[in-house]
Amino acid sequence: MAHSLSFNIEERTDSESDSNPDYEYDDLGVDETAQNSLRLVERPAVRTQRCPPPTHSDVLKENSGADSLQRNDLSPATLWVLSSMPSRTAGSRSIYRPGGHSSQPHGQQRSRLNQDNGAPPKVPDLGKDRTESGLENFLNAFTETTWQIHLGSVLSHFFFTGNRKKLLSNLRSLSVRESMQKLRCMPLSLVEKIEIRQLAIRDVSKRSLISRNVPCYSQCIHSFRSWCSRSLPVISSLQLWHSALKNLSGRFGTGVLSYFLFLRTLLLSNLLLFAITGLFLIFPQAINPPHLPDNPMDNPPDSLSNFDLLMGTGSLSQSLMFYGYYNGSIIGTCAATSLSSTDCAQVMLYSIPAAYFLTTIITFFAICIILVYRVSTTFGRSFHILEAPRMMAVKVFSSWDFKVNKKSSVKLQSKKISTQLRELLSDAIGGESEKSWTQRLFRLAVRLIAWTVSLASIIGCTLGVHSMSEAHLTKGKLGGFDLLLMAVLVSACNLLLPSIFNLCAWVEDRDSPGDQVYVSIFRNLLLKVCMVGALCFRWLKRIAMEPESHGLQCWESFVGQELYRLLLVDFVFTALHTFLGEFLWRLFSRQLLKQRRKPGFDIARNVLELIYGQTLTWFGVLFAPLLPAVQIIKLIVLFYLKKSGVLLNCQAPRKPWRANQMSSLFLFLLCFPSFAGVAVTVAYTMWMVKPSRGCGPFRNLNKMSESGHLWAQQQRNSHLSLSWLYWTYTYLVEKPGVLFLASGVFLIVIYFKTQVADGQRRIISLLEKQIANEGKDKEFLIRRLKDLSKA
């Protein structure tokens, strides 16, 4: 919205300056605008009589066509009128209210630029200097835009001398956090900001005893944070792979970069996951290994062959890796030993089953909170519900990617932008091109065929996986290469089907590339969901329900092994695809098709593969606690693999890629179908499925959730002071009513927010109409003023 300096014309009396109206936007009737503009008309009549006529600015150049208001034509009086118009001064008044916090009109949520500049400067006097440069200075002083843009001009001088006090007082009247936010948004140089900050904060700390404690506390936090980021450079997310990402963004732009940033995000979340499980689950069990199982059949061989490593069988199956290793014991460690050092004064009990159960719940909870927070912040930024279609202007000003610095990529980018602009232009001019009936029918038929082919392939693959799984299960004892075949089949489907989808998309040839991307994402997503669904069905309905019929002592370990195999085979196939597939395709297109163009990097497909891998990992936390470690290693290797693949084989994408929207969409996909599905399945497993008798920490229980219940009971019995814990646990976790209550509150909040957004949308449209009306008022006024000054 427009804003400008508000002028206190010193020649006028104080009463006049006070009577400058505060333009509130509560009532957006047009009469008010007219009223205000009439009020303003009175003053300039007086003004023009007093003010000496400027030299050349009264020469009127009448332009035919659009009534362009040439800046040079206007007298200073006119300029004063223009700059005092309601839209220009809206918001800038509000900061002068005592009590500090700027109240802003409805539709304007962001801080106004020069609200903080304190009292307006004096109107410069033209009388002395009538030369052209003097007039230029004078006109500059009256410009409607912010003085901050004109650093080094007349007005910044005003800021430094007169207005600094007002700015400081304004900053001090706000809370520390808000004043820092405001200062952050001001386009001053570093040195000035430091000075202002020092002045503002120094006075704040002088003010009261209470506020003196606040800087101390925040100083502690700050020093802790800086110590953390200094001592753990790898964890500091800004530094990891910084130069590699810079190189990639320089060559390929923001779209491809978003894939690698997503990979890095997943890596960090897996690190967190591994840290939590490692600390609370793996480490206690590692230092207290369970006794060897009594059954000699289950004694593993001592060596670990490569095949075992791939399959997850052999001695690996009896390790920390899988569920079966963990036993249901309660580990006692000595907390304090007496001087005789033979007996423990106090034994700290650590129950492994309870730890297993609670750790899983806590990790899921933590990830849920982080994901929801990230999705909510990025979603708001990228998908504007209040977005108006301003494609051309937005394209012109925000499509140049400043990160790209390689010459060939820059050329490609210019070409891309000019193509997009041409497309937009042809849309704007030509409108929707009229297609004949036959063409439309043909298009429809092609689309139907493409959809049928893709859906049929998805269903076909799902049925294939399902039937193979059934065939395996009915075969009896499971083992050997058959198990590997399952994983290979799933990974092969995941690899081949996206290529089919790409082919369908190429055949369809949609008009807008955005639509194409969404359709391709949807198809890939559907494929992955069906695959994971088939696998879950296999594990939970078949294997978990009747483990003995398949010869399994420990079905959870088996499921963990399957997940492990799936992750590994998926990784192997991805590596093969990157090296062989893209490399060979490049050679093929170069030699045979004689095209100089390298293939593009399919961002959607790769991101969905990452999401799929992450889904499997999350699901596997319950059955194979070390699986996040495997995923971490896999992601690190994948980063370098994909990076070299992209640098060697691909070129910058030719189609536009809305990076911000896509990133938030991928995060949303990670949260909603992926994480939500896994959470529901794990909850089902923990609450409904019977754990196996022969192994694992829950071997004596009917349900995994009972361990938590028992632990809470134990705590209540041993420490009566913790009975509230038991009470909270029972009521929060066991009763479903809490969930209903939480969802109800959530829905109410969502409804409220949508209503607020709706209201804001309406207000914005009204405000835009007001601005347009003001423009017309301005023209009217200027004509009147010209007539008056002529007369």
């Binding site: 800046r71 843009i149 386009p187 800087p215 500091s236 000003f397 232009l425 911000n660």
Partner: protein
């Protein structure tokens, strides 16, 4: 320049390259960059003109590097707006940057600078004739730089007209900062494209 919420300034000493004397009072959090960034930035500034840039800032030297040196940085060399970027951050408007202004420039162009700040400087950059308005000539120059003169003059004309038509709210046939900011706030990609990694 982005600032953190903490109420105290912490002094970061630039240890590398034998920095001595009065240290730069730069709050490293304020630069929204990681630990080594101030050092790294000074290193980059120094290597542009090793004989001109002093290592010792005790006497607060007034050292400015000319435009020609700065636009040769690899991050800026191929950017069509490189001259305007450097001019927008220089105090004299001619493109001569002191170290402060150099840091300012990369800070505003960093990932975490606030949207309002980026909008202000983007407006300055696109305003070729520095009259605080984006008039048609400014837009034409912008387009020519964007598309490397691939569009015909008629197409450029049409695009400019359409842009002004879309974004101009008060009907004066040019874009003031208010119009620009209003339009750019609806651009979801602006934050990620108006960003240079260093």
């Amino acid at each position: 320049m982005p600032f953190p919420e903490e109420s105290r300034l912490s002094v970061v000493r630039l240890r590398s390259q034998g920095f001595s004397g009065k240290r730069w009072v730069i709050n490293k959090q304020s630069l929204r960059m990681n630990n080594s960034m101030p050092t790294r930035l000074h290193g980059r500034y120094h290597e542009l003109a090793p004989h001109l840039v002093p290592m010792d800032y005790t006497n607060d030297p007034d050292c400015k590097l000319p435009l020609a040196l700065i636009v040769n940085m690899p991050e800026l060399k191929e950017n069509p707006f490189r001259n305007r970027i450097v001019e927008a951050f220089s105090e004299d408007g001619m493109g001569n940057l002191s170290f402060n202004e150099f840091v300012d420039m990369f800070s505003v162009l960093s990932e975490t600078a606030p949207r309002e700040l980026k909008a202000i400087y983007a407006f300055k950059i696109y305003d070729f004739n520095v009259d605080n308005f984006l008039c048609k000539e400014d837009l034409e120059k912008t387009l020519n730089k964007l598309t490397k003169e691939e569009l015909t003059p008629e197409e450029v004309d049409l695009v400019c007209e359409k842009t002004i038509e879309e974004a101009d709210l008060d009907g004066d046939n040019k874009l003031s900062f208010a119009d620009f900011e209003n339009m750019i706030s609806r651009a979801p990609d602006f934050l990620s494209t108006f960003h240079i990694r260093i």
